[in-house]
Symmetry: none
Subunit: 236 residues, 2 copies
Amino acid sequence: MEPNPSNPLENEREPMFEKHLTPSDVGKLNRLVIPKQHAEKYFPLGGDSGDNQGLLLSFEDESGKCWSFRYSYWNNSQSYVLTKGWSRYVKEKQLDAGDIILFQRHRTDGDRLFIGWRRRDAAVVVAAAATNGGNDAMGDNSGGHGGWSGRELYRGHPYLGYIQGLGANVLKQADCFHAGSIVEDQKQATRGGNSKRLVRLFGMNLESHQVEDSPPSTPTGSILSSQKGPTTYHFY
Amino acid sequence: MEPNPSNPLENEREPMFEKHLTPSDVGKLNRLVIPKQHAEKYFPLGGDSGDNQGLLLSFEDESGKCWSFRYSYWNNSQSYVLTKGWSRYVKEKQLDAGDIILFQRHRTDGDRLFIGWRRRDAAVVVAAAATNGGNDAMGDNSGGHGGWSGRELYRGHPYLGYIQGLGANVLKQADCFHAGSIVEDQKQATRGGNSKRLVRLFGMNLESHQVEDSPPSTPTGSILSSQKGPTTYHFY
DNA sequence: GCCATTACCTGATCT
DNA sequence: AAGATCAGGTAATGG
């Protein structure tokens, strides 16, 4: 969801940082390296936990689901990492290298943490979708949907690889913060009137939830508020 | 330095073992496999260290510099290895497959360890140099010096690859135990009188420090004393 | 044994 | 240019 004064939930969160996921972050190493500057600013370990075994950090995702990760410092590489639990998150969210992981916290209750993500190419896709009032404006030059059996087909695609062959999810979402129940019931006045549109893009029928661009809710701005246009869409 | 009764430093060391380095020993595996017989004889791990994390072994090199290596047992391969620190040593000494690594220890203080090395072809090179009283006896059929930018040019050379493009060292030494400050101030009576010579070898001007062959200083001999002729030269 | 997790380790890159 | 960082590894361990 966009920063929106009418949505109290939005104002309660402030961004901490985001990271472009590396192949290692989503690969078999089962760990996310947290850049030191951010780790030491937001998740201090030294005198905080007392012990050197790290600690458990819990984050809420876009659906309210809670994710706990072991957070620790690796002496040898001098780096901060999320380990246990991280690979499950990567798998559920279908994260790939280049996707972006977002960390937020509650504005007043700093112990309440949020985790989110968006696709590496969300901006490009949404930009196309944003100029697209109806169906089939892009044509159907990507081939049929049914024949795509795996996401690997679209690895390295300059726009988006958004098909997965596994599990119940058929589409990878482009941006988690705009999915889930929190925004489902919102009704907003938009330029186009209805806040939902069907967009046909690269041969896919996509439902877009268009929300007005709003100014940042805080003077300092936020990661989310800086993603005005591109993040106004989510796909099911 | 040669084994020399006048040099008390020599008498303080005894050889433990040596190993011809394999490609893996000097490659990207960043480890040196220590033959089990020698490992268990000289670096016992079992009841010695108590833990199974291996231990840190520190060795002095030919210049007195201390090198610490992690030493441990790999259950998978059932082998003893030096790991952490080893690749730095290989790099600094410019070791290649076929070169020989030497381990010594203090005769009375067995905890004091020494590490050294010699080139696989040291004997060949030095033999050539030893028959070479002056300059240019070998001609200059190797091409000019200035054009050699890296040792890779001489990888696989049957005699010696002794150029490196980095840092202050221009030549790979042929035998570490004969370099360093310890021998610098020694003045010895030699056949030729002056202990230093300029030798031109493969188009290189080399300064040789000629030292008299001396009998081994101990009845058991030593690694060093067994390398009488070929190892009497060192190059800067 | 396989897989997930933890704990090392290192080179390339950046500062 | 020396040090810090971190992406990408390996090895040990536990389940």
